[in-house]
């Protein structure tokens, strides 16, 4: 009479399915065979929203862009600017006009020739609101227009002096794409952008992989490259493998030749492995942090912000889950950024007594039966929307530890896991109290991007997640762009760091770092390009098998 009830095999199948989740979510599915000599397989740890780095502007986009786009200018590891697609440039005395001369012998891989028109098309594309360019467009806020004088001369006009202009132009985020390709709809260009770089994109399977092949006509390598002409390796397979242990497992098994976001937990093992080379470099910019939304309660109160920073034990987490593979950051700038001052590293070292005092002063004097602070019958709750897929495993553990230590001070931190789209939307509307952030850039001007009132509006992304608006800080940061005098700039950037620190806008965690692992038994000469320390595959060569 109960013929329709579930049978044992079905229940067992469900169990097997649950166990199978362990395997299926790891996104494997590559060929079992080791990669060929003519293909370099790179496993990246974070999904790519759009291959065109002008759109949005997250690190994975710049990573792949560094391998298929050239930039107007290049930067060396000392920070000096050198020619690239632009052979020459001059700046007007007032700092508002840049005249670029571009090369006459470079073609994009769709056959379009590089001209001054391409410079205009690219800069216009980055600032176009429809592009939704958070990073490149954000950097170009001082941009007014480009005038094409002749085929090789472009005159760029800015609305204010911008001392960091050439630095940001050297970043792959502002790479130069084919103007013909840019005319296509955004979605189309996202899937198949066209550049003049050493490789060209031939296929893209979202959330899975990007296939690139060598640009056989390549003749525009930057000064930091070790050779000229076409790249050494014929094909690149750029695989998206967000699962940390899977990505590392693929490298160990020889199914991928290199990876980024090297998982901290496997560092020791990788260092001991003679077949693996670790390529490590701290990046300049604004360190990995939790930014505090000052536009709404409870973090609209400076004392509550200070109390939160005082409640968080970060060092212990960096030692336990990162195993010391990242360097602790304390102030608003990463330690490798120009004009960085170490004076702000220990301003908010953990201090439970001070946190308690600050919260008392702010009126959060009572505690409820779960130990959380209460004011006017309201619990001290901090909403923290979070997308685990965007962060290394260790980061997920670190925020859990911060949640636990903040609880002791009386904060209820609600980590609300969500998919990228919904978390981004909350971020764009300031509907959060904490946001996990970082901003990689090669200039101290990052302070203006992350903390000035100019960047509290959304352009696909709100760079200033604190919503902090302070005319004094805005003025200092703009003054710092109007002078070339390093002493004056140093002084101004010191004042800016002071204001940011005084206002307790971020809980800095650790310096962003490029952590790349390479199978050195198969390939060699994987370098990091200097502007953002991104993996640069142009010079990679096969190791001779003896």
């Amino acid at each position: 009479m109960t013929t329709a009830s579930p049978s044992t095999p079905r229940s067992l199948a469900l169990l097997a399915a649950a166990a199978g989740l362990l395997l299926t979510t790891s996104g494997c599915g590559g060929s079992a065979a080791a990669s060929e000599d003519d293909t370099f397989v790179f496993a990246t740890g974070k999904d790519i929203s759009c291959l065109d780095p002008h759109v949005d502007g997250d690190m994975p986009q710049a990573s792949i862009a560094a391998n298929y786009l050239d930039s107007l200018v290049s930067q060396d590891s000392e920070g000096a600017i050198h020619p690239w697609l632009a052979t020459d440039w001059s700046v007007s005395d007032d700092g508002l006009t840049y005249t670029f001369t571009v090369r006459d012998d470079v073609w994009f891989t769709d056959g379009t020739k590089l001209t001054a028109e391409a410079v205009k098309a690219n800069l216009d594309h980055m600032v176009d609101p429809d592009t939704q360019s958070g990073t490149a467009g954000g950097y170009l806020k001082p941009y007014t227009s480009t005038e094409v004088v002749d085929d090789t001369t472009a005159v760029v006009t800015l609305n204010r002096p911008y001392a960091a202009f050439l630095e940001v132009l050297a970043q792959p985020f502002l790479g130069i794409e084919s103007p013909e390709a840019l005319k296509r709809p955004r979605a189309e260009n996202c899937n198949a952008p066209v550049g003049s770089g050493p490789y060209k994109i031939v296929d893209y399977v979202p959330q899975s992989k990007v296939s690139l092949v060598r640009n056989e006509d390549y003749n525009s390598a930057p000064p930091y490259a070790k050779h000229q002409g076409p790249a050494h390796i014929e094909k690149i397979e750029w695989r998206i493998v967000p699962e940390d242990s899977t990505r590392y497992g693929l490298l160990r098994a020889g199914q991928v030749d290199a990876l980024d976001l090297m998982p901290s937990v496997h560092f020791d093992e990788a260092e001991a492995d003679p077949n693996v080379e670790l390529i490590l470099q701290d990046r300049p910019g604004n360190p990995t942090n939790l930014i505090l939304n000052t536009t709404r309660a409870p973090f609209d109160d400076l004392n509550v912000r200070k109390a939160f920073l005082r409640s968080a034990y970060v060092d212990a987490g960096i030692n336990s889950v990162y195993f010391g593979t990242v360097t602790r950051a304390g102030g608003p700038l990463s330690s490798t950024t120009g004009f960085y001052s170490p004076d702000f590293e220990h301003v908010y070292d953990p201090d439970p007594d001070e946190a308690a005092r600050l919260l008392d002063e702010a009126g959060w004097t009572e505690r409820d039966d779960e130990g959380y602070r209460v004011k006017d019958g309201k619990r001290l709750t901090v909403h923290f929307p979070y997308t685990p897929d965007w962060w290394p495993t260790a980061h997920q553990a670190l925020v859990t530890q911060i949640q636990a230590t903040a609880k002791k001070a009386g904060f209820e931190v609600l980590i609300e896991n969500g998919d990228g789209a919904s978390v981004s939307e909350l971020g764009n509307n300031f509907e959060y109290d904490l946001r996990a952030d970082y901003w990689n850039t090669n200039t101290a001007d990052v302070l203006r991007i992350v903390f000035s009132s100019e960047y509290t509006e959304s352009a696909g992304f709100v760079p200033n997640g604190s919503g902090f608006r302070n005319p004094e800080l805005d003025g200092i940061l703009n003054d710092a762009l109007a002078t070339d005098d390093p002493e004056v700039r140093k002084d101004l950037y010191y004042q800016a760091q002071q204001i940011v620190s005084d206002n307790a806008l971020q809980l800095p965690l650790y310096n962003q770092a490029s952590q790349v692992a390479l199978r050195r038994d198969r390939f060699t000469s994987l370098a990091l390009e200097p502007s953002l320390s991104l993996p640069y595959l142009y010079d990679v060569t096969v190791v001779d098998s003896e």
């Binding site: 009479m1 109960t2 013929t3 329709a4 009830s5 579930p6 044992t8 229940s11 469900l14 169990l15 399915a17 649950a18 166990a19 989740l21 362990l22 979510t25 699962e243 940390d244 242990s245 497992g249 998982p263 937990v265 496997h266 034990y313 212990a316 987490g317 030692n319 336990s320 889950v321 685990p388 495993t393 260790a394 997920q396 553990a397 925020v399 859990t400 530890q401 949640q403 636990a404 230590t405 609600l414 980590i415 609300e416 896991n417 969500g418």
Partner: protein
Amino acid sequence: MSLTLDPTTTAEGGTAAPSSPVPAPSRAGRLVRNTPIGVWIAAALLAFLVLAAIAPSVFLRQDPFEIDPANAFQSPNALHLFGTDQNGRDVFSRVIAGTGQSLLLGLAATAIGLILGGALGITAGVSGKWLDSAICRFVEVLFAFPGLLLALIVIAVSGTGVVTAAIAVGVGSAPGYARMLRTQTLQVVAAPYVETALSLGRSRSHILWHTIVPNVGRPLFVLVTLGIGQAIVWASSLSFLGLGAQPPAAEWGAMLADGRNYLQVAWWIAAFPGIFITLAALTTTVVGHHLQRRLEAEV
């Protein structure tokens, strides 16, 4: 400690059988002899899980949420039976603390599935051809989606969290219950006692509530035990995907997800929650099946 406790309980249960001196087998004696040893083990383990769910403090020796970064990644030892996780939390305490939530999720989801499925199934069973086939087609449409996918759709619409996870799993399992209960209702409706009630002049609603529903409901107990196991696995799957319980909740699926990237260096972080998910699903299924067979034998 807790696991070794169970075989002894089983042994005691086993010795209880010969000690009953009555020559004509008593009901209890029959129960013991007709019950395979595997079912006893499952029942004992299930009793342990239920106890851990109702009174976790019996087993808890450490705070499941207390972090201790200096002692992260400790392998199982005397102080930490199941080792410690990446935040230095005691895995044993977290697994025990998670039992209540996992079982409750399983129960709540099954209840929701039964209510939804029951409403559909019984209505279809007692209604005329037109409504019956309308409901059947609707349930068939739902069947086109695997249960877990149906649950994911509910999550996508209503957001993450424990409550939505329970509703999602409930909705996901509802089509199965609807089909079972419709068949059941059809059989009851055709039974002679319904005909008798009709000929006695009882009203339709009286017959529905006093004759049909109780008779349909009787085998529900079995369905529930079978369904809970499935619901626990599904709910854990949702938490594994980050859609159910939120950090720092001690929920088995979430713990499994936490531990998966440490499998090579600290297998215990993922293994023990995984074992408990398996145990919960297996024990409820084994016990449920046994009850089902007994019920069939009695009928």
